[in-house]
């Protein structure tokens, strides 16, 4: 682990990240950086490697080669990764999954307080206080004592966001956070994400919500076949994509929406 080789304003730097599953190359030499406070939308067709790239940022997926820097913590994946390095990296990154992945045997409050106690060593009272503050923020304070199974998909996803935020991450990763939701329920999740973006949270969002990508993100990265096809400001990408593949993808997605 080295301290801050990246420029101070770079929250995330990926350098030459490659990922193979056997002979299948999922990520082919991907490099990108995300400035702190920036919201990046990762878009592209299914199987492009968007989710894999996102999961490489917090090393849920270990790249085959390359380096990953998050808020000053750099990990060279070719070397063995120590548990301490991994913990340092993950403490800076929050993640929200498509399928929420709340713990069904714990109450909503406990879902948010338990990780704080385990990871940050907060007392139960402290952790629960923080959890309640966040539940109020996502409009679900009244669900604190319920079990996740009793909440709607949109509510579960907002709880999952609160759970990730409770650990005070510097960066938030969203892996298709609204794909498993009805459009109406998706909106309430997107509203919470918009608020987060407005507050200056660094976010990387894998999404098929083109409206969100266009209106909320500062930067759009288009991926295809495990590589970055093009990237730029949302209005550039949506108004005049330079790659025919991007044009075809955007046409297909926007027609459906």
């Amino acid at each position: 682990m080295t301290t801050s080789p990246a420029l101070p304003h770079d929250a995330i730097v990926l350098q030459n990240v490659e990922k193979q599953f056997g002979d299948h190359v999922v990520l082919n030499n991907v490099s990108m950086s995300v400035s702190s406070g920036e919201v990046v939308a990762l878009i592209g067709p299914s199987g492009a490697g968007k989710s894999t790239l996102l999961r490489c940022i917090n090393l849920l997926e270990r790249p085959t080669s390359g380096s990953i820097t998050v808020e000053g913590v750099t990990i060279q994946v070719d070397h063995s990764i120590k548990a301490k390095e991994l913990a340092a990296l993950r403490s800076r990154v929050g993640m929200v999954f498509q399928s929420f992945n709340l713990f069904p045997h714990l109450t909503v409050l406990r879902n948010i307080s338990l990780p704080q106690q385990r990871v940050l060593g907060r007392s139960q009272a402290e952790a629960e206080e923080r959890a309640m503050t966040l539940l109020e923020r996502v409009g679900l304070a009244d669900k604190a004592k319920q079990y996740p199974g009793r909440c709607s998909g949109g509510q579960q996803q907002r709880i999952a966001i609160a759970r990730a935020l409770a650990l005070d991450p510097k960066v938030m990763l969203f892996d298709e956070p609204t794909s498993a939701l009805d459009p109406e329920l998706g909106l309430e999740v997107l509203a919470v994400m918009r608020e987060l973006a407005d507050e200056g949270m660094t976010m990387v969002v894998v999404t098929h919500e083109m409206q969100f990508a266009r209106d909320v993100s500062d930067h759009v990265v288009v991926m295809s076949d495990g590589a970055i096809l093009e990237e730029g400001k949302p209005h550039e990408i949506f108004a005049s994509p330079s790659q025919p593949r991007t044009r075809a993808f955007l046409r297909a997605v926007l027609d459906r929406q």
Binding site: R90, G94, M95, F97, N101, H105, V119, R163, A164
Partner: protein
């Protein structure tokens, strides 16, 4: 029927004493065997190949050995002198550990991978993920089949008569050896076993219903 009732009236003290030994034996074997089963289940899911291989061999030996053989091996094989009860307790605990480890492993493996990933993404250590997410849910899933196994283990205590543990079957046999009322005594023993196992099955059903919440 009257004869059976008369035998019960005459020998109920000895038979109930035997039942009490059977219950204690089952309880003790489960008390040691179930936690050991959990340890073996976690070990069998380990990422360390050598450890996993060793544990799987231990489990397979335990599962492959009939309880009756296990009782004899422990009784004759342990170099220190132990009572038949303690030997039976150890042997049945070993059998319990081997069998329940597979039941528990099935439970642990049925915890959705997404939840384990969420725990890791939150920065929880492997131990925390196991303790707080996998084991509580995995055990909850494994409880109904484990309770079924506990009932079988209670019945398996009858095998301990082979090493002279004065449990229910052994008492029934010893009374019958004197009275020659073999059928009567084993019918009474059978009814006593059934009272315990049917009650335990009813409890299992209730527990199963309760556990279906929040999973």
């Amino acid at each position: 029927m009257t004869e059976i009732w008369n035998d019960w009236l005459t020998h109920h003290d000895q038979l109930l004493g035997g039942l009490w030994v059977s219950l204690r034996l089952a309880f003790m074997a489960l008390l040691l065997g179930l936690p050991a089963g959990l340890v073996l289940a976690v070990g069998a899911s380990s990422r360390r190949r050598v450890l996993r291989g060793f544990i799987v061999v231990v489990i397979e030996i335990g599962r492959g050995t009939p309880a009756l053989v296990m009782l004899q091996v422990v009784y004759n094989g342990i170099p220190v002198t132990l009572t038949g009860f303690v030997c039976a307790y150890i042997a049945l605990a070993l059998t319990t550990a081997a069998y329940t480890s597979e039941i528990i492993r099935g439970g642990l493996q049925s915890v959705p991978g997404g939840e384990i990933e969420a725990g890791r993404a939150l920065g929880m250590s492997s131990f925390d993920v196991l303790r707080d997410i996998v084991i509580p849910q995995g055990l909850r899933i494994a409880i109904p089949p484990l309770m079924g196994f506990c009932i079988l283990m209670f019945q398996a205590t009858s095998l301990a008569f082979i090493i002279a543990v004065p449990e229910l079957t052994s008492q029934a046999r010893s009374i019958a050896n004197n009275t020659f009322h073999y059928l009567n005594l084993f019918v009474i023993a059978g009814v006593l076993y059934a009272i315990v196992t049917v009650s335990a099955s009813l409890v299992t059903e209730q527990v199963e219903k309760k556990l279906q919440r929040h999973v």
